[in-house]
Each structure stands twice: as C-alpha cells, then as structure tokens.
Symmetry: C2
Amino acid sequence: MTITITAFEKSPDGGQGLARDTRVRWALEEAGLAYDVRLVSFAAMKQPAHRALHPFGQIPTYEEGDLVLFETGAILLHIAQSHNGLLPADSDGRARAMMWIFAALNTVEPPILELSTSRYAEGDKPWTQERLPLIKDRIRATLQQLSDALGNADWLDGDFSAGDLMMASVLLRLRASGLLDEYPNLAAYVARGEARPAYQRAFAAQLAINAP
Amino acid sequence: MTITITAFEKSPDGGQGLARDTRVRWALEEAGLAYDVRLVSFAAMKQPAHRALHPFGQIPTYEEGDLVLFETGAILLHIAQSHNGLLPADSDGRARAMMWIFAALNTVEPPILELSTSRYAEGDKPWTQERLPLIKDRIRATLQQLSDALGNADWLDGDFSAGDLMMASVLLRLRASGLLDEYPNLAAYVARGEARPAYQRAFAAQLAINAP
C-alpha cells in the first residue's frame, strides 16, 4: 500500500531537519518503508483540502489507503505498531517505549515550544528579552530530569525504540539555543540518534527539498 | 493483577477534577478496572523513591505488576489497548482514536499549559496581564479548529473512545477561563464526557480525597 506524507514546500529552517516531517521520514526509514511526499505551501496548508486531512492545518500528514493520520506521535505509533524495528518484543517494554513518545511530546517539548512561541508570536514585544531566561530555566529543569533518567545509558530503555526516535527529534530542535550542550549525556544521545543510517537518509531526503 | 496509581495528597484544585489522576481514574472506570491509590505529598514527589517511578517528579504514575508507567497518554493507551471499551474494533479506527489522544496532548494542551505557566510561574511579572490576551487568542485559534473538526458530531470519530476521554479531560481545564463556553459545540462535548457514569465515578473518587 502506498504511503504518502506531506511536508513543507519550503521549510522555514532551510533544511536543518527541524520540520516535523523529518521524524516521520526517520520512522519510515527505520521500518524500511518506501514513501511518497506531497509538498504543501503555507497557503495550501490552511485551505479546506489540506484541513480535511489535518484539522489544525499543519504538516506532516500520513496517508496509507483509507487511513489518514496527523500528529507525529500517532504516525510514529502507527508505523511502530505495524512494522518491526521500533518497539521491543515484550508487552511491558512496548508500553514503556510508547511512554517515552508521550514524555517527549507532552513533557519535554512544551517548554521548548514556548521558546519558539516567544520568538515567532511575541518577538516584537517589550517583555520578550526579559522572559527568555525564565523560559530557558524551565527547559533546563526538564532537561536535567531527563539527563538524570538517561544517566550513562545509550537509549532511554534498553535498545533504540520509537521513544528514542521521538525524544531525539524533540531535543535536536534545541541545539541552536546552546541548551542541549549543557547536558553532555543528552547531546551525545541526540548525536547517537543522528548517526543512525535511517536518520541520515531521512535528513538527506528533507535537505534535498529544503536546501537554501 | 493489582493496579496502583498515585495522586496528589491534596490537589491544588481542591477537587475540581483538574489534576491528571482524574483522567486515569476515568479510563480505569470505563474499562471496569479496580485500582488502588497511593497519595503523594509535594515534597515526596521530588524524592528519589517517587522519581524512580516518575523521572519528572509528577503524578500520576501507574503500577501493574512489574510495569511502571508515567505520562497520562501512555497510561491511557496501555489501558485502552489491554481492555475493551476505549478503542474501536477496526485497526484504522484504533489508529485514529490514538491520534486524538496525541492531538489533545500535543496540539490542544500546549497553549492551555501556557495559561497556567503564565499564572503560576510568571504571575508576579509586569508583563503577565498584557500577555494574557495573546495567550488566550492562541488558545482560541486552536479551539476554533477543533470546533470545526467536531462539527455537530457527538464524539471526534464515531463512538466515544480514548481520544475523546483525553480531549475532554484537556478541555475541561479551560472552563474557569470562560474560553470553553465561547465554543458551544465543544462545551457540549465536554459536558457529554462528564455525564458518563465512568467519569462521574472518577470525579467522585478524587473529590473524596480533595474536597476542601
């Protein structure tokens, strides 16, 4: 069955791999699945045709036969549950890998999103510079807890899983801020993720479209 | 197998059902599962014994034999995948129900979290009053899209599912702000969730601990 995802016609990050299609491409590559990409302009993302696929007018979407999904967590989970390579074999281990997907998206990412919101939605406000250290300290508090949880391990729970894929994808958005490098074990963790051949292929595929 | 969850010794909301154990209680009630509750003080939440269960020092946690989970999305997913009543029978429908769990937690909740952060972490800052309308407008933009997606339907995708349980749980946190009532179909959707006997039992159980 053909898999089609959507991605930005031109990603705002110029191909740094920060757009959310990269994590879906990575999952598809880990699972060894071929996929097509349909590029969507910012204007088209807000039109009815795209909003029928994604009610919140974002990318990526995922189409496979009659199934249409949005939310990268849900897409990753669907790929991981239907194919080998992204979840452990035992049921408790699978539940914990899924837990780390949620931890990435619902605990680690929200303070990071505040950083982008502050930049893009409130960048012209008089308080933005003064708020920045507060936002960064909230991110640091979360990173410290994650760093403690990871410790000296290579991955969050046993072998590489969908949970690591999502956590590394969320964390690498922080690199430009310098915050990631304050936690050497997390920086090394993200680097291990990026070194995976599947990530390399995903990164190259999005770069081919978005390179400046 | 005994199921044990953790909850606040005394919830800051005084039993309004806004603490995150309520959504787990609701899921357990929908699935017809008995459970024990271990109450945790704010001090104990940050101690090593609790952080061994929840690296980010929050409630709720979920213990079932050797399995320990945190993140309400992961706990809900585990309950929904192991028991009847929270996911449809067909695999595409199941994937979409899971998608709505992620949409609740990763698209709808983050701007709502900004509202709490602004109140609790930046309540004493000179910019907080002026930022409030901006935060509320970001919440409104998301609610409008969700309202469009729901339309006149009772639930987000067919029958009531784990996706609705999580979405209603996230939305009801907005009631005090007045924002929910600006979208009558969403207010009615949340009320339908709250009218379910399983929700009523979950609400009563947390109220019994937290009533002022």
